[in-house]
């Protein structure tokens, strides 16, 4: 009996059947599904990173009295950057394991997946989805400190010259406001540099730099809108 006969005999004896085609199709489809899901999640993470950048005040770094490291920790959306990297790795791994995935280098796949996540993430950010996602995440995950909360923390250090809140009433040279911790303040703004995009009117959310002159009075040097690069901010996290 030659080797070909032996092997056919063995297959017959052990009743070995070829695995069904659908099993391989499903395996390949799962790789592609994992790739698509990972790219979409990566895109969501990227959109929140964009949102965080929009909401950040990088100008603070230049003149904040406490450490730059501490401030950077407060501003950089580390958790979302980690999410983005993890999902990109999953996307690359998934496509590499698809039937033809080996034809591409890891570098070209990394570039492709990143570009796709950036494109979709930017579209999601422009549509306003990033704010909603970040807000939902902050509401559902107790341990997560939202971008809004981090920002509030950074802008509620009156002893260092940083104060933020909502204007309650406006006088000639002063206005009353309540900071985000619920404390009332009287703010002297006659010599303040007011960014043209905001109005000192009731209900306006603002942030400012200046000096704390007593326990509940503050002299503003510069008044800015609460929202980062935006002209006005009327949304934010509902508490």
């Amino acid at each position: 009996m030659d080797n070909a006969e032996k092997i056919i005999e063995m297959i017959r004896e052990k009743e070995m059947k070829p695995k069904a085609r659908w099993r391989f199709t499903i395996k390949d489809s799962l790789s592609w599904a994992a790739f698509i899901i990972a790219v979409l999640f990566g895109a969501l993470a990227f959109s929140v990173i964009l949102f965080a950048i929009q909401q950040s005040d990088f100008s603070l770094i230049a003149h904040l009295s406490h450490s730059i490291f501490e401030l950077m920790l407060g501003l950089i959306p580390l958790i979302w950057i980690i999410f983005l990297v993890v999902f990109l790795v999953i996307a690359i791994f998934s496509i590499k394991n698809s039937r033809k995935g080996y034809k591409f280098t890891s570098l070209s796949l990394a570039g492709f997946c990143t570009a796709l996540s950036i494109l979709l993430g930017t579209l999601f950010f422009i549509s306003g989805g990033a704010r909603w996602l970040e807000n939902t995440f902050a509401t559902k995950v107790r341990q997560y400190e939202s971008i809004e909360e981090k920002k509030t923390k950074v802008w509620t250090i009156p002893e260092d010259g940083y104060l933020s809140g909502i204007i309650l009433s406006v006088g000639d040279t002063t206005f009353k406001m309540e900071d985000f911790n619920g404390k009332s303040w009287t703010v002297e703004f006659s010599e303040a540099d007011i960014v043209p995009s905001i109005s000192i009117v009731d209900g306006e959310k603002i942030k400012m730099t200046g000096n704390m002159t007593s326990g509940d009075t503050f002299k503003a040097d510069k008044i800015l809108p609460w929202g980062g690069f935006q002209h006005r901010y009327h949304g934010g996290r509902d508490k």
């Binding site: 080797n3 297959i11 695995k19 069904a20 391989f24 280098t105």
Partner: protein
């Protein structure tokens, strides 16, 4: 009933796969068609003896049969078979934790890569046979591309399909492997 190699010699590979799925006897044609070159390939990359190579070949063809529906007709069947055999051989070597002692493939490689004039090889043969063991120290990932390119005469595309690596990586590996091979064998011909 075994179908002889002679009777299926005009049937193309893809058709033979389809026929094998319908009738197991046709699978013997595939086996017979590829047996000689696959046995030689196993020995070239692993250096193991013919009996062990035959065992690997059988195990590989059982796997090929079990996964025959996975075969993608856009690939050359030979590339897919080489891939399965390659993986099976690596598993075998890992289990055994050593390569075989057969230097035949090293000598062939030496002939194909180093010697610009193959006929002058005869003059060096004794010297080469005594020292070729050093080539076993060449990392496996380099040796496998050298064997596929210079001994099995596979194209970059085929090597890419067999080893499941991008074509660019195949080219880089072959260049590095050739350089390393020349460095390691420099002393032999000087």
């Amino acid at each position: 009933m075994i179908i002889t190699l002679e009777s299926c010699k005009d049937i193309p590979d893809n058709e033979l796969v389809r026929l094998s799925l319908e009738n197991l006897d046709y699978f013997s044609c595939l086996y017979q068609r590829y047996e000689p070159e696959i046995i030689r390939y196993i020995q070239r990359i692993s250096g193991i003896d013919p009996d062990e190579s035959q065992d690997i070949l059988q195990e590989s063809f059982i796997k090929i049969w079990r996964n025959l529906n996975e075969y993608d007709a856009s690939l050359k069947l030979s590339s897919w078979i080489y891939r399965v055999v390659h993986n099976e051989t690596i598993s075998y070597i890992r289990k055994k934790k050593s390569y075989g002692k057969d230097n035949t493939s090293n000598i062939e490689l030496f002939k194909n890569i180093i010697m610009e004039e193959p006929e002058s090889f005869e003059a060096y043969e004794d010297k080469i046979n005594n020292t070729l063991g050093i080539i076993d120290h060449i990392p496996f990932k380099f040796k496998e591309v050298l064997v596929l390119k210079f001994l099995e005469k596979k194209s970059y595309e085929e090597i890419s399909d067999i080893l499941r690596i991008p074509k660019g990586t195949v080219a880089i590996r072959i260049n590095r492997a050739k350089k390393l091979f020349r460095e390691m064998t420099e002393g032999i011909i000087s």
